[in-house]
């Protein structure tokens, strides 16, 4: 049969489909990222960037206390966000995976995908108004004689923002992970007299481990890189790393220093990603 080749010989048809994305991503994805790394070694003279290979920017940034304050804050906030989101999402994902009909689950997932594609900025602005000193939450609490509580410009505010960003995604990923595990194993645990709570810890969570960790990883990456919540709801004192990038780029015109911050962020995220993926795919120790 004269079938077209599926092997890797020169083939105009195959290359037509393969090449566009390679060219595009090299030009506009790999190129910009590599250039940013290079830029972190450039110099700024008289408000103009000069191509060079100097460690000045790195020295300037890494020896400053405020950089490390920002780093610690960003890291702690993202870690906290990951823990809170994973814990808050789990009961809901558990319910969606095991306690509702497939139709309900499909609808719930459908609804959860919507916020992911709607304006995060407007949602945060909405929270700003809701959480304000004289906002909706405090006026409801006042009805029962509580408050007012300061929620803006606190870590709580930042976390509310992070949850707005990450919770839908974490619930979706966790639900997928939980819905895909073998029900027979859970049933077997029940039949052998395992209590439902214990079954969650010893059977369900280990089986869904990969998915749960991937969900947490996405949550960390999103929180670590977000500037809207810490800026508008958290008060930005001290600034997180993404806010530092904006300040350095926009007002300071110090692109190379901003690049230093960005490269440090990338290195951190790459380390975290590899560590958690190694954890996620590690074979279980024999028992």
């Amino acid at each position: 049969m004269p079938q077209p080749s599926t092997r890797n010989t020169f083939n105009g048809f195959a290359l037509t489909w393969r090449m566009p994305i390679i060219v595009w991503q090299v030009l506009f994805f790999v190129g910009p990222l590599l250039f940013m790394v290079a830029m972190s070694f450039f110099l700024v003279k008289n408000y103009r960037m000069v191509e060079a290979f100097e460690f000045k920017n790195w020295e300037k940034m890494l020896t400053r206390g405020y950089f490390w304050d920002s780093y610690a804050l960003t890291f702690i906030l993202a870690t906290l966000s990951t823990i809170v989101a994973s814990v808050l999402a789990f009961p809901a994902s558990f319910a969606l995976a095991f306690k509702v009909s497939p139709v309900v689950r499909r609808w719930a997932l459908f609804l959860l995908i919507i916020p992911f594609f709607t304006s995060y900025l407007v949602r945060i602005f909405s929270w700003y108004v809701i959480l304000a000193e004289s906002g909706v939450v405090n006026s409801i609490l006042a009805q029962i004689g509580l408050g007012p509580y300061t929620m803006l410009n606190t870590m709580f505010g930042t976390l509310v923002g992070y949850m707005t960003l990450t919770l839908p995604l974490v619930v979706v990923l966790q639900t997928f992970a939980l819905a895909n595990i073998d029900r027979n194993l859970v049933q077997a645990a029940h039949n052998l007299g395992c209590s439902p709570i214990r079954a969650i810890y010893t059977v369900i969570m280990p089986l869904a481990k990969t998915g749960l960790i991937v969900a947490a990883l996405f949550c960390f990456i999103l929180s670590f890189g977000d500037f809207v919540s810490p800026y508008y709801l958290g008060g930005s004192k001290p600034p997180t790393l993404p806010i530092l990038i904006i300040d350095t780029t926009k007002s300071g015109q110090q692109w190379p220093r901003a690049a230093v911050v960005a490269v440090v962020m990338m290195l951190t995220l790459i380390t975290i990603a590899f560590a958690s993926l190694a954890l996620a795919y590690r074979k279980r120790a024999s028992r």
Binding site: T118, P196, I245
Partner: protein, 265 residues
Amino acid sequence: MIVQRLINWSLRGYVLLLFVFIFSPILFSVVFSFNSARFPTIPLESFTLHWYKTIWNDPDVWTAARNSLIVSACTSVLATFLGFCTAYSDYRYNFRFKSAYLALVLLPPTIPLIIMALAMLAWFSKIGASGQLWSIIIAHSVLTAPFAMAIIRLRLNQMDKDLESAAWNLGASEWRTMREVILPFCKPAIISALFLTAAVSFDEFAIAWFVSGLNKTIPVLILEIVQGNIDPQVNAIGTFVFLVSMTLVIVAQIFFTLRAGKMMS
């Protein structure tokens, strides 16, 4: 048994609560946009269309809306084209470095937008392409192509492998098979990808803010208004934005879930 029931119901209640949390900012934004208070709270003040009139009469909003429309339309076509090519390559061929190839395609959405924004800004000004509408379009196509690729790839998974070979055996060339078998089969996914990538592009503000120069899109305009003062105009613009992106996402999902049978007939 009673305990079991109680647990099940409280779990359902918890899910509901979580949905309330997730959707309340959207809901409040819509409610506030019709409220006369400058700083809305409960109890609400009177109903008004004032904020909508304000944005309707604001030429900046119109310019931004035009820019957003151009950017998301061009982005969606470009990203869907790139996504289709990649999905088909992945579906049909095995080649060396394929996992590197796929990583190259799928990585952009995992990189924080602010980092992409800085990298794009620097790169575009290096190659002399910054501050244009099409700089946003290029950046957004890199960001959204993976979504298009994923949707179309999932659709290709549903296709019978023999369909393509059958066409070849009947004498159709690869190009003709592409035109008359593959593309029609992927049509719902392609439409879905067009709408979804448009939605992502329509809402993206970090990269757009960095590379747009003076050509503001709607999200960049919102960002700038929010940076100033509490201005309920944002709720009106926001409601409009929600409406547009939800429509896009819902249309995308409808096409995505269309069964094979319906489209092939």
